[in-house]
C-alpha cells in the first residue's frame, strides 16, 4: 500500500538532491536546474497531501508553483544571459564582485 509517507520521503529525497546541487555545482545552469528539482519536490509534496485530503487545493497550489517556477526560470535565465555578456563564463565562482 502506498501511503502518503512514501510520497513524502520521495519529495524529501528529491529536495535534498536539489539542495546538494545548488550548494555544490559551479555551473550556473546546473544550479538553476537544481532549483527546478527542488520545486518539483515541493509539488509532489503538495499533491500528495491534496490527494490524502481529497481536496483539489493541493493541485491548485501546485499550478501556481509551476507558474512561479516558469516566471523565475525566465527571469533567471535572462539574468544569466546579461551576465554572460559581461564575463563570458558559466562558472558562478567568477561572479564575486560582492567579495569584501
Amino acid at each position: 500500500m502506498v501511503t502518503t509517507f512514501h510520497y513524502l520521503m520521495l519529495s524529501a529525497a528529491l529536495f535534498t538532491i536539489g539542495v546538494i546541487g545548488v550548494l555544490t555545482r559551479r555551473n550556473i545552469m546546473v544550479i538553476l536546474m537544481s532549483i527546478e528539482l527542488m520545486m518539483n519536490a515541493v509539488n509532489i509534496n503538495l499533491i500528495a497531501f491534496g490527494d490524502r485530503l481529497q481536496q483539489v487545493t493541493g493541485q491548485v497550489f501546485a499550478i501556481f508553483v509551476i507558474t512561479v517556477a516558469a516566471a523565475e526560470a525566465a527571469v533567471g535565465l535572462g539574468i544569466v544571459i546579461a551576465m554572460f555578456k559581461n564575463k563570458e563564463t558559466m562558472n558562478i565562482n567568477e561572479i564575486d564582485l560582492m567579495k569584501w
Binding site: V19, V22, L23, T24, I31, I92, N93, I95, D96, L97, M98, K99, W100
Partner: protein, 690 residues
C-alpha cells in the same frame, strides 16, 4: 598806526619765524632762513620801538598800557588767605610799561644783532635751519616773559626760555658733553621753577589775582588798610620762593652750576641767552615783584647777600680759567650777582640799569670771543692764543672796548651802572658797608681777569699752533658789523643813567612809576629825608674808589700778562695752594654730584633693576609658564584625546577584520548558510519546543 595796541605782535613775529624755519627750513636755502629769522626779530624791534615811543608820549603816571587778547582760563571761585573769595581768571594779555619797555628794547635790539652775527658764524654748520628756528622760538618765549601782563604768562615764557636753552645748549647733540650740559641746565632750572611756582600760588592765595597791575593795587590797598605789614611772614615766604626761581634762572648760588657748562652751546647762544637776556629774567621778575619785596626786608637782605657772595665766588673762579668762554661765563654769573645785590638793597632801577649795560658789553664780549674762536678754527683755550691783535684788528678793538666797559672805565656804560650799584650798596637804608666792600673787591677782580683775558688773547708772544696760524683771518662783515654796533652801545648806553652829581638818571626817572614805594605809615617821613642823607662828595668819593680799584686790577694784569708773557708755572705759583681749588671751581660740581646727582642716579638705577628683574621677570615667568603648560596640554591632546579617538577606530577595525571574511562573494556560500539556518529552525521545531 597804534603800536600800543599792536604789542601782541611783538612776540608773534619770531613765533611765525620759528614755524616757517622749523617746518620748512630743511629745504630752504641758508640765505632765506637767515633773512626770515633776523627779519622777524627786526620787525619785533621796530614794533617795540614804535610802541615805546608812543608810550613815552603819555604822562608818566599813565605810562602803562595793557592789551588783553582773550580770557585764557577761568576756574571759578577760590578762597584767598584773607578769607575772601576771588575768581581765578587768567587772561592772555600783554602789558607795556616802563619796565617791560626797557626789556623789549634790549631783547629785540640785541637779539637782532646776534641773529645777524649768527648768519655768518653758523654758516658752515649742519642744522642751520634748526638753530634759527630755536633762536626764534627763544625770542618768542623771552618776549612773552617780559611782555606778559600776569605771572602765569611770565611763567610760560620762563619755561619756554628754559626749553630753548636746553635745545640750544644741546645743539651739538653729537657731543656727550653738550647733551650733559643741556640736561644739567634744564634740571637745575627746574629746581628754581619749583620755587617760582610756589611763589605764584602763594601770591594768588594772598591777594586773589595774578595780574601784575591788580596785585600791585591790592598790595597797595592792603598796606593802606593796615592788612599787610612789613615783615609779614607770608610776604617773606613769597619773596624767598620767588627768589629761588630767580636763583635758578639767573645763576645765583647755589643754582649757578649750569651756566659755565652751558658754554657747550654755540657762541651766539651764549651771547644771547646766557649773557644778555635769559639770565636776566630773574632780575626782571624780582623787579616786577618789587612791591612784595618792599614788604619783606629780610628777604631783600637774603637777596643782597646771595648776590654779593655769588659775585665774589664767581669772580674768584674766573681768575684762573683758561677757556675764553668760561671766563666770560663766570664773569656773567658775577655781574648777575651785582644786579641782585642792587635789587637786594632796594635799588631796583640800578639793577635794571646794569642789566641793560651788561647786555651790551657782555654780548659784545661773547660775540667777540666767538670771532676769535672762528678765526682760531674753533680753538677756545687761551693758552694756545696770543698776539692776535694785528691779525684780527676789528675784533680786537671791539673787545678792547668791551673790556674797558666791564671793568668800569669812566665815561663808558659799565662805569655808570656799576657805580650806581656800589653807591646804593653803601648808602641805601637796606645797604651795608660790608656789601659795598665785597662789591668793590669784585670790581677789582673783574678788571683783573678781563684784562688778563685781553692780554692773553691779543698780546704777548704767539702760542698759536703752527698749522692754525695760517688760517687766521678776520671774520666776515655779518659778524663784525654787529660787534661794532654793540661796541658803540657799550660806550653810549650809560649816558641815560648819569649819577645824581652829574645831572640825575633819566633811566631811573623813567622807571619810577614801576618802583613806586609802598605808602608805609612811618616810612613817609623817612623816605623824603633818606634820599638827602648823603652828600655829593661821598658819592664822588665812592666813585673814585671804584675807578682806583679798576686801575689796580688793570695794572696787575698788565704786569703779569702783558709785559711778561703768560707762563703756566708762574700762574700756578702766584696763587699757591688756592690754585687747584680755583681752577676746579671750588669742587662745587663734585659736591653736588656726591650729594644729589649720584643719589638720584642710584635711585634711577635701582628702579630700572626692579623693573627689569622683577616686573620683567614676572612677565617672562608667566610666558615661560604658559609655554610649559602648553607642552602639557599638547601632550594630553595628542595622547589622551586623540588616543581615545584612535582607540575607537582601532576597535572597529579589529572587530570588522575577521567579520568581513563572511563576505566571500560566492553565492553558494550564502546558500549554504541559508540551509544551515533552515536546519537550525527544523531542529528547534522538532526538539526545541516544549
Amino acid at each position: 598806526m597804534n603800536f600800543l595796541d599792536l604789542i601782541w605782535l611783538i612776540p608773534l613775529f619770531p613765533a611765525i619765524g620759528f614755524l616757517i624755519n622749523g617746518l620748512f627750513g630743511k629745504r630752504m636755502p641758508k640765505t632765506a632762513i637767515g633773512v626770515i629769522a633776523a627779519g622777524a626779530v627786526l620787525l619785533s624791534f621796530i614794533f617795540s620801538a614804535g610802541a615805546v615811543l608812543q608810550l613815552v608820549q603819555l604822562e608818566p603816571e599813565a605810562r602803562s598800557h595793557t592789551k588783553e587778547l582773550y580770557e585764557w582760563f577761568n576756574v571759578g571761585q577760590a578762597r584767598t588767605g584773607a578769607g575772601g573769595l576771588a575768581e581765578f581768571s587768567v587772561k592772555w594779555g600783554y602789558l607795556l610799561d616802563p619796565l617791560s619797555a626797557v626789556m623789549i628794547l634790549v631783547v629785540t635790539g640785541i637779539g637782532f644783532l646776534i641773529h645777524v652775527y649768527s648768519i655768518g658764524y653758523m654758516h658752515e654748520e649742519d642744522g642751520f635751519y634748526r638753530f634759527f628756528a630755536y633762536l626764534n622760538l627763544f625770542m618768542f618765549s623771552m618776549l612773552t616773559l617780559v611782555l606778559g601782563s600776569n605771572y602765569l604768562m611770565m611763567f610760560i615764557g620762563w619755561e619756554g626760555v628754559g626749553l630753548c636753552s636746553y635745545l640750544l645748549i644741546g645743539y651739538y647733540f653729537h657731543k656727550k658733553s653738550a647733551g650733559d650740559a643741556a640736561k644739567k641746565a634744564f634740571v637745575v632750572n627746574r629746581v628754581g621753577d619749583w620755587g617760582l611756582s610756589i611763589g605764584i600760588m602763594l601770591i594768588f592765595v594772598t591777594v586773589g589775582s595774578v595780574e601784575f597791575k591788580e596785585v600791585a593795587e591790592k598790595v597797595h590797598e592792603g598796606v593802606v588798610a593796615g592788612m599787610f605789614h612789613v615783615s609779614d611772614p607770608i610776604f617773606i615766604t613769597i619773596a624767598l620762593a620767588l627768589f629761588v626761581g630767580a636763583a635758578g634762572k639767573s645763576a645765583q648760588i647755589p643754582l649757578y652750576v649750569w651756566l659755565p657748562d652751558a658754554m657747550e652751546g654755540p657762541t651766539p647762544v651764549s651771547a644771547l641767552i646766557h649773557a644778555a637776556t635769559m639770565v636776566t629774567a630773574g632780575v626782571y621778575m624780582v623787579s616786577r615783584s618789587n612791591f612784595i619785596y618792599q614788604l619783606a626786608p629780610e628777604a631783600m637782605l637774603v637777596v643782597a647777600v646771595v648776590g654779593a657772595l655769588t659775585a665774589l665766588f664767581a669772580a674768584s673762579i674766573g681768575l684762573v680759567q683758561n677757556d675764553i668762554k668760561r671766563v666770560l661765563a663766570y664773569s656773567t654769573v658775577s655781574q648777575l650777582g651785582y644786579m641782585f645785590l642792587a635789587l637786594g638793597v632796594g635799588a631796583f632801577a640800578a639793577g635794571v640799569f646794569h642789566l641793560m649795560t651788561h647786555a651790551f658789553f657782555k654780548a659784545l664780549l661773547f660775540l667777540g670771543s666767538g670771532s676769535v674762536i672762528h678765526a682760531m678754527h674753533h680753538e677756545q683755550d687761551m693758552r694756545k692764543m696770543g698776539a692776535l691783535r694785528t691779525k684780527i684788528p676789528t675784533t680786537f678793538i671791539t673787545m678792547f672796548v668791551g673790556t674797558l666797559a666791564i671793568a668800569g672805565t669812566p665815561l663808558l656804560s659799565g662805569f655808570f651802572s656799576k657805580d650806581e650799584i656800589l653807591w646804593q650798596a653803601f648808602s641805601s637804608e637796606h645797604g651795608h658797608v660790608v656789601l659795598w666792600l665785597i662789591g668793590v673787591t669784585v670790581a677789582g677782580m673783574t678788571s683783573f681777569y678781563m684784562f688778563r683775558l685781553l692780554f692773553m688773547t691779543f698780546f704777548g708772544e704767539s702760542r698759536v699752533d703752527h698749522h692754525t696760524e695760517h688760517h687766521i683771518h678776520e671774520s666776515p662783515k655779518s659778524m663784525t658789523i654787529p660787534l661794532i654796533v654793540l661796541a658803540i652801545g657799550a660806550v653810549l648806553a650809560g649816558y641815560v643813567g648819569l649819577p645824581a652829581w652829574l645831572g640825575g638818571s633819566v633811566f631811573e626817572h623813567f622807571l619810577e612809576p614801576v618802583f613806586e614805594p609802598l605808602p608805609f605809615p612811618q616810612a613817609v617821613a623817612e623816605g623824603a629825608a633818606g634820599a638827602e642823607h648823603h652828600s655829593v662828595g661821598l658819592e664822588i668819593g665812592i666813585a673814585a674808589v671804584s675807578v682806583a680799584v679798576a686801575l689796580i686790577g688793570f695794572a696787575l694784569a698788565y704786569s703779569k700778562y702783558c709785559k711778561r708773557s703768560w707762563e703756566e708755572q708762574r700762574e700756578v705759583r702766584q696763587y699757591g695752594p688756592l690754585y687747584p681749588a680755583l681752577l676746579n671751581k671750588w669742587y662745587v660740581d663734585e659736591l653736588y654730584d656726591a650729594l644729589f646727582v649720584n643719589r638720584a642716579k642710584g635711585a634711577g638705577a635701582s628702579m630700572w633693576k626692579f623693573d627689569s628683574k622683577i616686573v620683567d621677570g614676572l612677565v617672562n615667568g608667566s610666558a615661560w609658564t604658559t609655554v610649559k603648560s602648553a607642552v602639557g596640554s599638547s601632550w594630553w591632546d595628542r595622547w589622551i584625546v586623540d588616543g581615545l579617538v584612535r582607540l575607537i577606530g582601532g576597535v572597529v577595525k579589529t572587530v570588522s577584520w575577521p567579520l568581513r571574511l563572511v563576505q566571500t562573494g560566492y553565492v553558494q556560500n550564502y546558500a549554504l548558510v541559508m540551509v544551515l539556518g533552515v536546519l537550525v529552525f527544523i531542529g528547534y521545531v522538532l526538539w526545541g519546543t516544549p
